[in-house]
Structure formats: structure tokens, C-alpha cells
């Protein structure tokens, strides 16, 4: 195997937390007791959970070792398509942790929380400017909750016009969250297929759109990495029949300063701050999924909303048409702060972000074309989709190839999605990667394809250098072991 810069090395073992520790150890400084003991109702009192007792050094070592088994954006290139794994600026972490933000209670009186409220008010305006939409709610805690919020607005809009609608158009290239979010509002998804260019045609949408259809959910650019070029025509058809157009903004990183969604017929759009606006993904969250709408839908946005009266920012729930509230408080403020810092740091250079993200994707596409089969041979936006068509005759699959990428020090791309491309390999390099890194990535894929011809068993067995090798996922699902063996049972015995 050819040694590349990221090839793997030192890995230490570490047992489960429950196999560590000893009664009588403490990992946290116990605050001083300056009050007496008061009687506790014995009927209600319990024995407390049987957690292991660890010393501070044990805790630190446990999690430090665990962390070394993870691959993050700081470790290397993470070309996960439609996930926009760009660099997460460190200064934003530091600023979100300032005591004035991190220590702020959500029920602080208005006069005592002007700093955060101003940040939220400004961030809403920034996002409105970037998207060309009129009003923004920062409340949704992630993209899927943004989608749900959007579908609730569709529902409320149609109800306000006297008639609820029962269906929603969802293209075959959509993320799984789209139909799942729509179903939560009682909408039945109707699938429409993309055409031979990998985009939706006006005709396909027109034939599905009727008076019982609430509207359409479009991801633009879509998950094949193409701009939905017929979007204005599609919006016209949907609007003519009384429907609304929802845009999933998961792929906004391609069009910052290039397209304003509000100007191309979009009524509702969610953004993912943890994709486009650089907040860290945290191994699965927390993210934030702000929702942007046109003026006529603003009355339906979730409450409370940030408003400004005579120089004072405050939260207001005085919006009688609002769909309600989706978060215990006002959304993931800690994430908003990071995105706010990112936007301030870039300013109008955000356009450059999209230009370079698209340049990187097209560069990888050109360089990999021929090595891998390109699903649609045309210029792409921020991501490109290949498949395993050329390697399938060698009995080598997409899974085999991307698992081998791990040995070369790269995180695999998104695979087997979108569903319309068999054996899909969906690559989104983002603007964060420099040319040399992209060249290394292409070189690694080149090596892997050579290996596929000469010694496919290497790929079938990959990865070989990671902490663990391929895991038995079928067995895991058939016989689920979701907690440490014996620990829960012991806990119940002592309770």
C-alpha cells in the first residue's frame, strides 16, 4: 500500500466506562456544604443510579482515548456529500463560550438579555439578505425540524384559506427527512422523478400537482449536485394551483451570493447552520435549522419572535396566526452565535465561499472522471456523484472502495445516496480543501481503483488500519445490545 500523509498509526485500547472506577473515587470537586441536612420524604427517596465512580485522571484518559478513534474535519478531508463538512473556525467556539452567552438564562428579563437578542435580530437579517427571503425564525434545532416547521406553515396556510390539502410533491432525489417531515403533518408524499439531466421538469411537476396538493419540496441545488434549472416554471405551476414551494437549503453552500431563493419562486426555505455556516457537527448535532419565508407567510412563523421597539429588543408571542413553538426556548442559541461570527468574518466574501466550493467539486469531478464512472456527465455545483459501474464487473462495490479510502486517511463520501444512482458515491469537497489535498484524494482513489483490478480482496477486507474492521451490522440489528451487558439489570436489583 502506498503511504499517504494521513495513513493511520497509534491506537490505544480503552474499556467501557463501566469496567473502570472504584467506589470512593471522585472525578469532580464537590461544592462546599454551607447548609444543614433537612429531612427527606422517605417514601419518595431513592438510592440514586449505580454509576461507576472514577477519578479525574481516569475520566480524562477515557475520553481522550475514545476521541483518538474518531475522524473529524480537523483530522482530514471529509467529503461527505450533502453534509457540507467544511472547516469549523476555532474563534467561533471561543466566542460562543463567553460567559455572557454561555451563562445566560433563557428567562432573563428583557433588559438583561439585550446582547443575545441583538445577535438573534441581526442574524435573522443576515440570513434574510443571503437568501432573499423576508422573514426568518431561528428556532428550529436542526434541518429536519426546520422542514417540519415549514410543513406546519404549509398546513396552517392552507387551513387559513379554508381548505387543508393532503398531498405533497417530493422528488426522487430528496433527503429522507423530507417525506418524513411531511408525513408528521399528515401530508402524503407523491414522488416525481428527475429527468435525464438529473433535474425536475415542469411537465413532471405539472402532472402531479393538483388542488389537493399542498405544494412541493425541492432541494436546490439538488442531491445530484445540479441546480434545478426549471425552478421558476415549477414554482409557477405550483402557485397557479394554489400550492407553495418549499426549498430544502441543505445545499445552499453552492449558491451564496449567486442565487437568492426569494427571487426564484421559493416560499419557504430552511438553512442548516451546521452545514453552510460552519458550525461543528458534533458527531451528530447539535445543529440549527433556521426557517426563512416570504412576507405573506411571516405571520405563521413560530413564536416567540425577536422584535425591536424603540431601541429595545424583546421576545414577542403576539402573532395570532403562528403555528406555535418547536423548541423549549428559542432554539440553539449557542449554534447561532457561531454562525453569526462566521458571517461577520466573511461578509460579502461569502460569494467566494460558494465559488470555491463549486470549483473544488468540478475539479474533483474532472480528475476522477475515467477513474470512476460519472453518473451525469455535466458541470456540477458543490458536489458530484459517481458510481461503482466500472468496478462492478471486478466484483468490487462502492462500499469496498470507500472503506479502502479510510486506510488512505480520508473520510468516505456519502454512499448509496441519492437513490436514483445505483451504487452512488457522492463527493462534496467544500471550499475548505486546498488543491494539494484534493490531488491527494484523487490519487488515493486512483490507487484504490488499481487495487480493485490487481487485488480486489484488499478492498473486500478494507479498512485494515482502523481501530476496528468492518462491523457486523446485521447481527447488531437482529440482536440489539443497546446498553452495557448486566449494568441495567444490576441497577434494577439495587433500586
Amino acid at each position: 500500500m502506498k503511504e499517504l500523509a494521513g495513513s493511520s498509526g497509534l491506537v490505544l485500547n480503552e474499556p467501557l466506562l463501566f469496567e473502570r472506577g472504584k467506589r470512593g473515587r471522585f472525578g469532580m470537586s464537590m461544592p462546599r456544604r454551607d447548609v444543614e441536612y433537612f429531612p427527606v420524604d422517605e417514601e419518595l427517596a431513592g438510592s440514586g443510579p449505580d454509576f461507576p465512580d472514577l477519578g479525574e485522571v481516569e475520566v480524562v484518559r477515557h475520553y481522550t482515548r475514545l476521541s483518538t478513534w474518531n475522524f473529524g474535519v480537523d483530522t482530514g478531508m471529509y467529503p461527505l456529500g450533502s453534509c457540507t463538512m467544511k472547516y469549523n473556525p476555532k474563534i467561533n467556539e471561543k466566542l460562543a463560550a463567553l460567559p455572557g452567552f454561555a451563562g445566560a438564562h433563557p428567562f432573563l428579563p428583557t433588559e438583561l438579555s439585550q446582547g443575545v437578542l441583538k445577535m438573534m435580530f441581526d442574524l435573522e437579517r443576515f440570513l434574510a439578505e443571503i437568501t432573499g427571503m423576508d422573514a426568518v425564525s431561528l428556532q428550529p434545532a436542526a434541518g429536519a425540524q426546520g422542514e417540519l416547521t415549514g410543513m406546519l406553515i404549509f398546513h396552517a396556510y392552507h387551513r387559513s384559506r379554508g381548505r387543508c390539502r393532503s398531498k405533497i410533491i417530493v422528488p426522487d432525489t430528496a433527503h429522507g427527512t423530507n417525506p418524513a417531515s411531511a408525513a408528521l403533518c399528515g401530508l402524503t408524499p407523491v414522488k416525481v422523478c428527475s429527468n435525464e439531466r438529473g433535474v425536475l421538469s415542469v411537465e413532471a411537476v405539472a402532472s402531479a400537482m393538483d388542488e389537493d396538493t399542498a405544494g412541493i419540496m425541492v432541494t436546490n441545488p439538488n442531491t445530484l449536485g445540479f441546480f434545478e434549472e426549471n425552478i421558476r416554471g415549477i414554482a409557477e405551476v405550483v402557485h397557479d394551483r394554489g400550492g407553495l414551494v418549499y426549498a430544502d437549503g441543505a445545499n445552499m453552500n453552492a449558491v451564496l451570493g449567486i442565487v437568492k431563493m426569494g427571487a426564484i419562486g421559493i416560499d419557504v426555505l430552511h438553512l442548516n447552520l451546521h452545514k453552510t455556516f460552519s458550525t461543528p457537527h458534533g458527531g451528530g448535532g447539535p445543529g440549527a435549522g433556521p426557517l426563512c419565508v416570504g412576507e405573506s407567510l411571516a405571520p405563521f412563523l413560530p413564536v416567540p419572535r425577536v422584535v425591536m421597539d424603540s431601541g429595545l429588543f424583546r421576545l414577542s408571542s403576539d402573532f395570532p396566526l403562528s403555528i406555535g413553538q418547536l423548541h423549549a426556548f428559542y432554539g440553539n442559541v449557542g449554534i447561532m452565535i457561531r454562525a453569526y461570527c462566521y458571517i461577520l468574518s466573511l461578509g460579502s466574501e461569502l460569494k467566494k465561499v460558494s465559488q470555491l466550493a463549486v470549483l473544488n467539486a468540478n475539479y474533483v469531478k474532472e480528475k476522477l472522471k475515467g477513474i470512476l464512472h460519472l453518473a451525469y456527465d455535466r458541470a456540477c455545483m458543490h458536489e458530484c456523484v459517481f458510481s461503482d459501474k466500472l468496478q462492478a464487473p471486478l466484483n468490487v462495490s462502492t462500499l469496498d472502495m470507500v472503506k479502502r479510502l479510510i486506510d488512505y486517511g480520508f473520510h468516505p463520501p456519502t454512499i448509496y445516496f441519492p437513490l436514483v444512482v445505483q451504487g452512488a458515491i457522492m463527493i462534496e469537497p467544500t471550499e475548505s480543501e486546498c488543491k494539494e489535498e484534493l490531488d491527494l484524494f484523487v490519487e488515493a482513489f486512483g490507487e484504490i481503483v488499481k487495487e480493485a483490478e490487481k487485488s480486489p480482496e484488499l478492498l473486500h477486507n478494507a479498512p485494515l488500519r482502523s481501530k476496528v474492521r468492518r462491523l457486523d451490522e446485521t447481527g447488531a440489528a437482529r440482536n440489539p445490545r443497546l446498553t452495557c451487558a448486566g449494568v441495567i439489570e444490576r441497577g434494577k436489583d439495587t433500586a
Partner: protein
């Protein structure tokens, strides 16, 4: 811009490879009538050093400890966070990774979440916990949707002493799908009045929060028997998990699903988010659960390892038939809370919980001695309701001017609760802080009565 590594030379070389003459040409597939040709009107770009100053100015415009003494809880609690927790969760291998779809290079997150699932199950007395939901409010909504899936019914009953925001979130999630939501009233002792519950037919789930919004412990076993007699599930909600270091867990008391907010466990308050939706249930309902689950398995060499499992419940496989639409959750907050629970240990958790209880009892006693009313008699944990004389808004404002936030005015949430305030005391508050609150309250009340 330092986040963009491309030199002019790189751009020129790369454009040549892709066959474009300039960056604009990369967007030629976008129809002209869809293009934005102006400049974004945004502040910035600012330097790192300017940004530091701007954010410091905003942060300065917030009231926080230690300058302010803030006796607020109501779903967000200030607890000490050990330096180790902040330090460890800042390891960028945890924070800059994605959802662990590639288990071979995500074992750190996966093992940490597997341990989290075990810790949460132990804490709540349940069999299984998921890898987290967004927060306590959406977790409750998801629990009720799950109750409907399990029972095939669409009617739920909610205690009126569940956090008011959580109840709004439940209505927002459930109403468009045609659910009937019944509010259960509360009684004179500050707990839910279960007496009418048996008369409601066709219930999918009964939801009770304990400790409830007034800080009182509920009769969860009584609620469990009512719910189970009606063929419904008992959903136990919570906003302060530290209480289970002192009191019996909801699982022991008969809850079928237990969910709530985990922010207390090492997560900064951050003006209400991000939080952590803890979610656990009995094993027999496992396959109806929302959210991600981590399971233990083996690799090809028989080495133990962890994977995301039971994915056939989830949106990326089942699409509109999924148990939930959730994708990104609160992964890093879940790991944070696990680090906190590991630091505290079983012994530490019991001790800290008891300290919260005793401090709160101390303040309650001092307020009583000073002549203030404590309207509810039920046992509490670290929050309780105090009654101030009428015209209390002026008292509250006066204390605010002295940098004391005297709890949450309840009148905004319960019209019958004017002049009543929800006070919270955690281990952060010293005896001196509490004495100061009592004496300032007394002084303010006296001086206003004198006017």
C-alpha cells in the same frame, strides 16, 4: 480570507482543468433569470480581533453570574461544570465529526454514546435510551407520538404542571396530525390532580412532569396505575435530571417512556439552547422509538465495536414511514452529559442532589421565617413557589436593580398565579446569597408597604 486556502495560481490551474475561463462560468447552468447579480449587503468582513471586540460587547450586555444572582430555573439550570468536561468535549475529534455513519472511524463517538445510553437508562430506571433528541420539549412531543404508535390511539392527556413551553410544543407537533390533547388540572398541594383521569376513554398516553413546573414531586406510581388501567402509556417528563440522584427514578415508579431535558448535566445554559433531549423506554417498545440508537457488535476479527443500529425505524431508510423525521440530534451534548455523569459518579450524583435539595429547603425555611407564603406543601427538589404580597412587580424590579433576579413570575403562565414566583437554588448559590435574597425581599416589601 484565512478559511479559503486557494491562491490565485491555484484558481487559475483548477479552472483550466475544469475547462472554465473564470469562476463565474462555473455557474452557467443557472438560468440568467435565477441569478443574483448584486453584492450581498452584509456587515464585515471583520478581522478576528475586531470580532473579539464585537462579541465581547454583546456578551457584556447580558446579566450573568457572578455579577448577578439569578434564582431562575424553570427548565434551565445553572450548575458547576468541571473544567475537565469543557476541555474534553472541546476535543475536535468529537466536535468536528459527522453522525457516525462510518463506524470504523467513529468508534469514539459510538462508544461514548453507547455509554451515554447506559448511563441514561440507569438514571431513569428504564431499559433502553436513544442517542438523544433536540431538547426536553420535542422529546415529550416525540414520546406522545410514540405512545400513539404503540396504542393505535390519538388522544393524549397532559398535566397542566408540565413546563408551559413543552405543552405548547406538544400542541404544535400533534394538532395538525389530528390529535386530541386534554389538560389535566392541578390540586392545592401543587401536584397534578389525577382524580378525573379514569373517566377519559381511549387515551394513548398520559404525560406527567416530575419534579413538575412548580418544583413538586408527583405521584408517578398513582399516575402509572391510572394510565395502565386505561390501556395507555405513562410518559414521565422532567426538566431537572439531577433530582433522580435523590428521588426514585420514573422507571421504578412505573413509567413506560421517560424523557426530558439533560442540560443540567454539564451543558451551558446558552440562553436556552442547545439542550439535550434525553429519551428512554421499556425494552418492549424499543422498536417504536424515535431517534438514533447505538448497538454493540463485533468486527470481522471478533473484536467488539459499536454501530448505529435499528436504522429501519429511521427516515433515511423508511422515509415517510419512519418513527420520526429526526436526523441531526444533540450528539455532542449527549457526550458532554456522559462526561459529566462519569465525573460525578454515583456517589457524587447522590451528594450533589442532596446538596441542591438542602439548599432549596434552607431558602424555603428562611422565606417562611421572614413571613412569605410557600403555597404548595408537596415535596420538592431545587425549585419551589413563593408568594409575595400584592404589587410584587415593583419588588421584583427593585431587586433586579440590585442585581438579584428573584425567580420567574408565574402570572405570565398561570393567570391565577399573580404575585407568585418560581425560585430555583442549585449548589451554585451560597448561604450568603440566599440570606441576601431574603433580606432584600423583606426590605423591598417593607419599603413599598410603607409608601
Amino acid at each position: 480570507m484565512r478559511y479559503l486556502p486557494h491562491t490565485e495560481e491555484d484558481i487559475a490551474d483548477m479552472l483550466q482543468v475544469v475547462g472554465a475561463s473564470h469562476l463565474e462560468e462555473l455557474f452557467s447552468s443557472i438560468p440568467e433569470d435565477c441569478r443574483f447579480r448584486g453584492d450581498l449587503k452584509l456587515a464585515g468582513p471583520v478581522t478576528e480581533w475586531e470580532l473579539n471586540d464585537m462579541m465581547a460587547a454583546l456578551a457584556h450586555n447580558m446579566a450573568v453570574a457572578p455579577e448577578y444572582k439569578i434564582f431562575l430555573g424553570a427548565g434551565s439550570y445553572r450548575h458547576h461544570i468541571p473544567a475537565t468536561v469543557s476541555y474534553l468535549l472541546g476535543r475536535s475529534e468529537f466536535s468536528t465529526s459527522y453522525t457516525p455513519y462510518q463506524p470504523e472511524i467513529s468508534q469514539g463517538t459510538l462508544q461514548a454514546i453507547f455509554e451515554y445510553q447506559t448511563l441514561v437508562s440507569l438514571l431513569l430506571g428504564m431499559d433502553v435510551a436513544n442517542a438523544s433528541l433536540y431538547d426536553g420539549a420535542s422529546a415529550l412531543a416525540e414520546a406522545l407520538l410514540m405512545g400513539a404508535r404503540v396504542t393505535g390511539r390519538k388522544k393524549v392527556a397532559l398535566s397542566s404542571l408540565i413546563h408551559p413551553h413543552y405543552r405548547i410544543v406538544v400542541c404544535t407537533y400533534l394538532e395538525p396530525a389530528g390529535f386530541e390533547i386534554i389538560q389535566i388540572p392541578y390540586g392545592l398541594d401543587g401536584t397534578t390532580d389525577l382524580s378525573g383521569l379514569r373517566e377519559i376513554e381511549g387515551l394513548a398516553a398520559v404525560a406527567i412532569q416530575s419534579p413538575n413546573f412548580f418544583g413538586c414531586m408527583e405521584d408517578l406510581s398513582g399516575a402509572a396505575s391510572c394510565a395502565h388501567d386505561a390501556g395507555a402509556l405513562l410518559v414521565a417528563s422532567f426538566t431537572e435530571p439531577l433530582a433522580f440522584g435523590l428521588y426514585k427514578s420514573p422507571g421504578v415508579l412505573g413509567a413506560d417512556i421517560c424523557c426530558g431535558e439533560g442540560q443540567s448535566f454539564g451543558i451551558p445554559q446558552s440562553y436556552g439552547g442547545p439542550g439535550l433531549g434525553m429519551f428512554a423506554c421499556l425494552k418492549r417498545y424499543m422498536r417504536s422509538m424515535p431517534g438514533r440508537l447505538v448497538g454493540r457488535t463485533e468486527d470481522r476479527d471478533g473484536k467488539p465495536g459499536f454501530v448505529l443500529t435499528l436504522a429501519t425505524r429511521e427516515q433515511h431508510i423508511r422515509r415517510e414511514k419512519a418513527t420520526s423525521n429526526i436526523c441531526t440530534n444533540s450528539g455532542l451534548c449527549a457526550v458532554t452529559s456522559a462526561m459529566y455523569m462519569a465525573s460525578l459518579g454515583g456517589g457524587g450524583l447522590r451528594e450533589l442532589a442532596r446538596l441542591n435539595y438542602d439548599k432549596s429547603e434552607y431558602l424555603k425555611g428562611e422565606l417562611r421565617k421572614a413571613g412569605f407564603g410557600i403555597p404548595f406543601s408537596a415535596a420538592g427538589f431545587n425549585e419551589f413557589v413563593v408568594e409575595l404580597p400584592s404589587g410584587s412587580e415593583a419588588v421584583y424590579r427593585r431587586l433586579q436593580d440590585q442585581k438579584l433576579v428573584a425567580g420567574l413570575p408565574l402570572g405570565a403562565f398561570y393567570s391565577e398565579m399573580a404575585n407568585r414566583y418560581l425560585l430555583c437554588v442549585t449548589e451554585i448559590m451560597s448561604r450568603q446569597d440566599m440570606d441576601e435574597l431574603v433580606s432584600q425581599l423583606r426590605a423591598a416589601c417593607n419599603s413599598l408597604a410603607g409608601n
